[in-house]
């Protein structure tokens, strides 16, 4: 049905996918699995033409398939059901379904409301939804929206439907409904690619399986040949061959951060853990497990509905970022470009951002430029920022690795007692990664507690003293260093889905 021939895609010089080659048999469902960042979403986006490949070609039904834009992909019968819903909540169900092909009167070209309602009702019946097509989409539940999105795809008479994590926003019953629909579509001869972290679902629904790791195909064949453990070991795959700096220090006994029963409706439930001085605590979990959300709550960017956070034994009031920073908390955000840096400001200004108030004179507020510059120069050397980077250079022009060093340096200047890192090495080359690992360890060795969120399993295994596993907003496992086991972590991360 669809065939990949040496297709590859890079973003900003970092390879996201390929080159890969595989084929999907007509009328079957292909399961696509892999860790976060393995290239699954890139592959889907290539098919749906939201991005263009750098190399190789795709064949659809034997014909060369090279759509330049999403509309063209849809016209050729390829429909993507996206991870995040792509409906328009300000429009009605019927309008969402027929947005690009409204039934129209000849003159004036008004929409034929009756025909629209009737045709929309037919499509809704196909996905088993009994709703008034005039209902606004914002009034629907996530599950209903998902079905509407599938109905929209069906309206385009698709030959190939792509499901990208279609069940993440669904409850068990809603997911069950989706599976029945997928089964029905297969009987109608529609081919599908099904991307999911829920391996049990993949085993149940799919005919064939492709496993991606680091953008490459590491396993493929009939799904019957893959047991759950084999799937997991293929996804995780590699040995820990990447070098991590040797750890000199070790966790102390006294606590620095204590989290008791943090809950936020719909996002996380009863999160409790303790972080000791000098400890590197890993936070593992799948995309959407609520790791970044937890970090935001800890740092005061969001307020929990209940629970308590203590720093050095003293409670932190909810939602007070500035106070947290003053008391020694630091947070390196997931997206350094939008949340971590002032992109147009210079390297020096970015480095000095957090500690600026400490260098302002108490009486006049005038900044002591000389001592600030001295501190900045010291930290520049500490994070080993590339010598080529000039002090006045805008942060925007730095490489990803250097940008991350600037963000880290900014927090190091404040001498944090608790450092929260959210995906600190995403999109960073191997050399810079090592430097960042070294810095994280140095921070811990100096007695700070480090909370490390990472989707790279080996990073957690290589750096952490202890790992917490989060699955759909709940802590499902805690592993001490001597218990570290990739399969166990992945199983715990999938805890809420393996049984589904």
């Amino acid at each position: 049905m669809i065939e990949f021939q040496g297709v590859a895609k890079s973003y900003d010089g970092i390879r996201a996918l390929g080159p890969i080659s595989f084929a999907l048999r007509p009328g079957t469902i292909l399961g696509l699995i892999g860790e976060n960042g393995a290239g699954k979403s890139t592959l889907m986006n290539l098919l749906a033409a939201t991005v263009q490949p750098d190399a190789g070609q795709m064949l659809l039904g034997g014909q060369r398939y090279a759509p330049r834009e999403p509309g063209a992909a849809l016209n050729q019968g390829v429909a993507l059901i996206h991870q995040e819903l792509n409906l328009f909540p300000n429009l009605s169900i019927a309008e969402n379904l027929f947005l690009t092909r409204f039934p129209r009167h000849w003159c004036p070209p008004f929409i034929q409301r009756h025909a629209l309602q009737a045709e929309a009702r037919e499509l809704l019946a196909e996905v088993g939804l009994d709703l008034d097509p005039g209902t606004l989409v914002e009034q629907l539940s996530p599950g209903e929206s998902q079905l509407v999105e599938i109905a929209r795809a069906l309206g385009a008479a698709p030959r190939l439907i792509l499901f990208d994590e279609a069940t993440t926003s669904l409850g068990t019953r809603e997911a069950e409904r989706l599976f029945q629909l997928v089964e029905k579509l297969r009987q109608q001869g529609i081919s599908m690619i099904y991307v999911s972290h829920t391996l049990a679902d993949v085993r149940r629904l799919c005919d064939d399986l492709v496993v991606l790791r680091d953008g490459l195909v590491v396993g493929q064949g009939p799904v019957a040949e893959f047991s759950l453990p084999r799937m997991i070991s293929l996804m995780v795959g590699r040995q820990l061959d990447q070098l991590y700096p040797t750890r000199t220090g070790e966790p102390q006994t006294d606590l620095v951060l204590e989290v008791r029963g943090i809950s936020q409706p719909g996002v996380m439930r009863n999160i409790s853990f303790q972080l000791r001085r000098g400890e590197i605590l890993g936070l593992a979990g799948l995309l959407g497990a609520g790791r970044s959300e937890l970090a935001r709550v800890l740092f005061g960017l969001e307020r929990p509905s209940s629970g308590e956070i203590r720093l050095d034994g003293i409670p932190l009031p909810p939602g007070q970022v500035r106070q947290r920073i003053q008391r020694g908390m630091a947070f390196l955000t997931e997206d350094r470009r939008t949340d971590g840096l002032c992109l147009n400001a210079s390297l020096t200004d970015n480095l000095g951002l957090v500690v600026l108030p400490q260098y302002a004179s108490g009486n006049t507020g005038r900044i002591d430029r000389t001592s600030l510059q001295g501190a900045i120069t010291t930290v520049r050397e500490a994070v080993r920022l590339s010598a080529k980077a000039a002090d006045r250079q805008p942060a925007r022009t730095l490489s990803g690795g250097n940008q991350q060093k600037v963000v880290l340096g900014k927090w190091l200047l404040a001498r944090p007692r608790v450092l929260i890192l959210d995906e600190p090495t995403r999109g960073i080359d191997v050399g810079a990664k090592f430097e960042i690992y070294r810095l994280i360890q140095a921070v811990a060795d100096q007695g700070a507690g480090v909370l490390l969120i990472s989707s790279e399993m080996e990073e957690l295994l290589g750096l952490c003293d202890r790992i917490l596993v989060l699955s759909r907003g709940e802590i499902t496992d805690t592993l001490a260093r001597d218990e570290f086991d990739q399969s166990r972590i992945l199983r715990s991360a999938l805890a809420h889905t393996l049984t589904a």
Binding site: A48, T50, E69, P70, G71, L74, N75, L80, H82, N86, L87, F88, P89, N90, L91, E95, L99, T100, F102, R104, P108, P109, F110, I111, R113, E138, P142, R152, S169, G171, T172, R173, P265, G266, V267, M268, R269, G288, A289, G290, E293, R472, G473, E474, H496
Partner: protein, 331 residues
């Protein structure tokens, strides 16, 4: 699921324009009985005709999530051109055609700069505002041009007892409401305004939609300018000034979101434009210090924008991602 109080708040937020409208009318009615007369109402409607038409055009652009600050300048340029040709002997209809053409052309230019050069609508139209004003001043040599009486006759004419400007405004309003609610273009405009990237993924030609929206906005500004011209009978150097403010304010007062994707012509823009005029009218009747007009009008507009932002925030918090599996499955 929501406490009843929050439902009441949401209702108030959604009906903010009607509430404000009722409040203003009741307030002025109590202070000055003359305000609440039929004669005065028709006055307000007549005076608000140009704002209404301009606000309709702006609604299209605001729905896309953009903005057009150049409408007042478009009115001025069109009027200045009209003044020049009329002095050369042309009639009101030629003036109308010229103003519509000028408006559509400038609007199209805005659209091209926004879609092709990917410039921010704010920046583009602010520049065009400045350029248009300068061009108009150059055309008129900063002198007022008095137009022949045919123009004023047009503005004062009535069909079946209804003044032509009011008829025109209502016609434009109805047409725009139909386009937005009943045509594919209209519905796609809402989609683009809500999320341009998702619209592109759905196969909508977002660029074309934006281009048409800006052109329609310019066209409406041209027509609004002509109506205003036919009521004033002269092109002064201040012609069309502040219309971008009045127009945007009218649309926002009527519930059109500055974030795009939300808003309607009826009753929204209609209520908004007449509300602004009603405030000015009421202040005149009350014999208020004229220097206070801008203060009071702006305060009301600020209130409306505040409500709009609050509503957007409330909606956003309602749409937060759900991660947890519900503990109990509802049966």
């Amino acid at each position: 699921m929501n406490p009843p109080g929050s439902r009441l708040v949401r209702l108030a937020l959604n009906q903010a324009s009607v509430l404000l409208f009722a409040l203003v009318f009741a307030g002025f009615g109590v202070l000055a009985p003359r305000f609440l007369t039929l004669v005065n109402f028709s006055h307000i409607l007549l005076q608000s005709a140009p704002t209404l038409i301009v606000a309709v055009g702006l609604t299209f652009v605001l729905l896309t999530g953009g903005v057009d600050l150049s409408v007042g300048a478009i009115m001025f340029v069109g009027a200045a051109l009209t003044g020049r040709v009329v002095l050369g002997g042309a009639g009101p209809l030629a003036g109308l055609a010229l103003m519509l053409l000028a408006g559509a052309m400038v609007g199209l230019g805005n659209g091209i700069l926004v879609t092709r050069c990917r410039l921010l609508p704010f920046v583009v139209t602010l520049a065009v505002l400045s350029i248009g004003r300068g061009f108009g001043l150059w055309l008129t040599e900063t002198r007022a041009i008095n137009l022949p009486p045919e123009f004023l006759q047009f503005g004062a004419a009535r069909v079946a007892g209804v003044p032509v400007p009011v008829l025109l405004a209502l016609g434009v309003l109805t047409l725009a409401a139909l386009i937005l609610a009943q045509t594919a273009f209209g519905r796609q405009l809402y989609a683009v305004g809500h999320n341009a990237e998702a619209a592109r993924r759905a196969g909508i030609n977002s660029r074309r939609i934006l281009l048409v929206a800006y052109t329609l906005c310019g066209l409406c500004a041209g027509l609004g300018g002509f109506v205003s011209l036919s009521q004033l009978g002269a092109v002064s150097p201040k012609f069309g000034e502040n219309y971008e403010f009045k127009g945007i304010a009218a649309a926002v007062l009527g519930g059109t979101s500055l974030y795009g994707g939300r808003g309607r012509i009826f009753p929204g823009a209609f209520l908004g434009a007449t509300l602004i005029q009603a405030v000015e009218n009421g202040l005149v009747i009350l014999n208020t210090d004229p220097y206070l007009y801008p203060l009071i009008t702006s305060a009301i507009i600020f209130l409306a924008v505040l409500v709009d932002t609050t509503r957007a925030r409330l909606l956003a918090s309602r749409n937060r991602r759900v991660i947890l599996i519900p503990t109990a499955q509802p049966e």
